[in-house]
Symmetry: C2
Subunit: 340 residues, 2 copies
DNA sequence: CGCCATGATGAAAACGTTTACATCCACTTG
DNA sequence: CAAGTGGATGTAAACGTTTTCATCATGGCG
């Protein structure tokens, strides 16, 4: 009884209102040239019939989907909820929907995802370790405006937005050096991750500039807590070559902290520990974690805003790489090194 | 110069290959009745031309978008990244895309979002404090299969999936009572939140069952850290009527912990503190937080799986409310109450 | 040799919109 | 009063696919 579930189309509305589909379309889209009475009647009927325009049909003719796609790597942790939130805020402001496509383990999967998005989105936000320029240009139609995030695109013709990982890491090392630390180990992130590479570059450059004698100590990591745990044990096992650990992200720093606790190493008295990202948890560890704040939501929001500009003013596309500063947050996990 | 950016359609492929569009469609979609040679030629041309089928056009005729919509409230914190991740995993498994629509502050906004999704999605996952049955049935076409999450739908004809908040809260109070706590305060969540109401109901029921004499002590909260902070101060200000605080989520528990530290109240020696959700941070607070684990990713995944069943076997729609158990996680924030 | 079955291909309709263009009508205006 | 003007409405094409149906060639079989 309840529902005549066959979807009601614009034709049904037209028939019931005794007008043409064109008039219905005009009334619904707020065009001027339709009598107030007709408009009212049409709107009434539409409401009564629960008419809802069919998105795909509309997209087909208007060439607009009102949707932007976000192609992201794995969706773990606070980072992505913040990122998506930022995107969502900016998208909503312009009446756009957000299509999320994630967890692309390989370049092929990423390529597939990109192609599947064709005709579903007006623009694309891409953050992928696999996304390089040839992959992109092969798999996305040149017509789709795209903003790349945290991706290595040397002077390509894609707009891009990066966190200034290099400067952040540099500043952190600078801070550690100023506090008197001299033997600073890096727990690096995955080698295929652009952020990770940039952070490492910052660390190495700062070391070279500020402690010309010191050899970099780099330990492998994978941006996970478990990886941080392993790295901390490796560092301890290596003997006490180190007075400060710089974990390339907070998740690994948390893992380090856990391992160091278990090993009976006190932070910061025995060993300083710092991270990168300033995830919410960083405030609540014991001791609270010195880290580099990345305003992730802002990253998402700015990327989306940039994309929206491309959409609205296709003539103004600037493909300049934009960079988002990050900021040192000093807490208690790297109190000054005590002599002895 | 670079790009003949006009999008290449199936017609272009047909023309270049010297066949009809029908054959191209057949070749691309793997229909059998097309000669291997023709197929090969068509695929070659398609690749060469970088042809990508237009999603909207395809959707229009196939009545399938290969997309499901997720209508969610505000996207804060770990909860949502986990939820989305779970959904994404299940969706990807079935080759579906995920369209995320969030931050609906009011019923009207939710309604608008629902209608905007019409014709863009094959099905819907809805979690919204504003989503009640009339709103839903008014704003989504009966044709769109829908699974409701953490929503109050008494015996409606929507499929639904809820976390067993009641049982979780009950179990937590039971645990506190077993540990000797008698004066247990609840920091409640927002009144318009279904989860919050259920948790409160569990608290009150457990209190009534297990400590018949005790009057419930309920303090207002809003599921944020700041709210927890305020509530803890209010509890302290009320004088020491309380030996255990049950925060209705972990974010508030973290806020409480912060405030209690500042007030010089030791947890758990002076006051026990427990939460709900088991966010990752809960392990790392000092002391680590006793809480109720909700497997959020699983919630998202199961909801999506359920929806997919609806999509694939429309005849089998069971609108039964399904419930997801949660589990007590005992850590150090509620050591047994010491006498005196 | 002629008929039919079969398998490959093409023509065209359909999906639900928007919009350019045509039509019609009621005015205004000379 | 005729002609023009302009506003409301309708007609039909277009968007890019998939799919039904028809067509056509091929080859097997009586």
């Amino acid at each position: 009884m309840s529902a005549r579930s066959a979807t009601v189309t614009i034709k049904d509305v037209a028939r019931h209102a005794g007008v043409s589909v064109a008039s219905v379309s005009r009334a619904l889209n707020g065009h001027e040239s339709v009598t107030p009475e007709t408009r009212a009647r049409i709107l009434d009927i539409a409401r009564e019939l629960r008419y809802m325009p069919h998105g795909a049909a509309r997209s087909l003719i208007t060439r607009r989907t009102q949707t932007v796609g976000a192609v992201l790597p794995d969706l773990y942790g606070e980072f992505f909820s913040e990122l998506i939130r930022g995107m969502d805020v900016a998208a909503r402001r312009s009446g756009l929907h957000l299509l999320v496509s994630s967890s692309h383990g390989s370049a092929d999967e990423t390529a597939l995802a990109l192609r599947a998005l064709q005709g579903r989105v007006d623009g694309l936000l891409v953050m992928s370790p696999h996304a390089d320029v040839p992959l992109l240009s092969d798999n996305l139609p040149s017509a789709v405006p795209t903003v790349l995030m945290n991706t290595q695109v040397a002077g390509s013709d894609y707009a891009s937005l990066n966190v200034d990982n290099f400067a952040g890491a540099y500043a952190m090392v600078q801070h550690l050096v100023a506090r008197g630390f001299r033997r600073i180990a890096l727990v690096a992130g995955p080698a295929d991750n652009f952020d990770a590479r940039e952070r490492r570059r910052g660390y190495e450059q700062a070391l070279a500039d500020l402690l010309p004698g010191a050899a970099p100590q780099v330990f492998d990591g994978d941006f996970t807590e478990a990886g941080g745990d392993r790295a901390a044990r490796a560092i301890e096992a290596a003997g006490r070559q180190t007075d400060a650990i710089f974990a390339a992200n907070d998740a690994m720093a948390v893992g380090c902290l856990f391992a160091l606790n278990e090993l009976g190493v006190r932070v910061p008295q025995d060993l300083a520990l710092v991270g990168f990202d300033d995830i919410p948890m960083a405030r609540y560890t014991t001791p609270p974690l010195t880290t580099v704040r990345v305003r992730i939501a802002e990253l998402g929001e700015r990327a989306m805003a940039r994309l929206i500009t491309c959409l609205e003013q296709p003539e103004h596309v600037d493909t300049q790489a934009e960079v988002l500063a990050c900021e040192l947050v000093v807490r208690q996990s790297c109190a000054p090194a005590e002599p002895g």
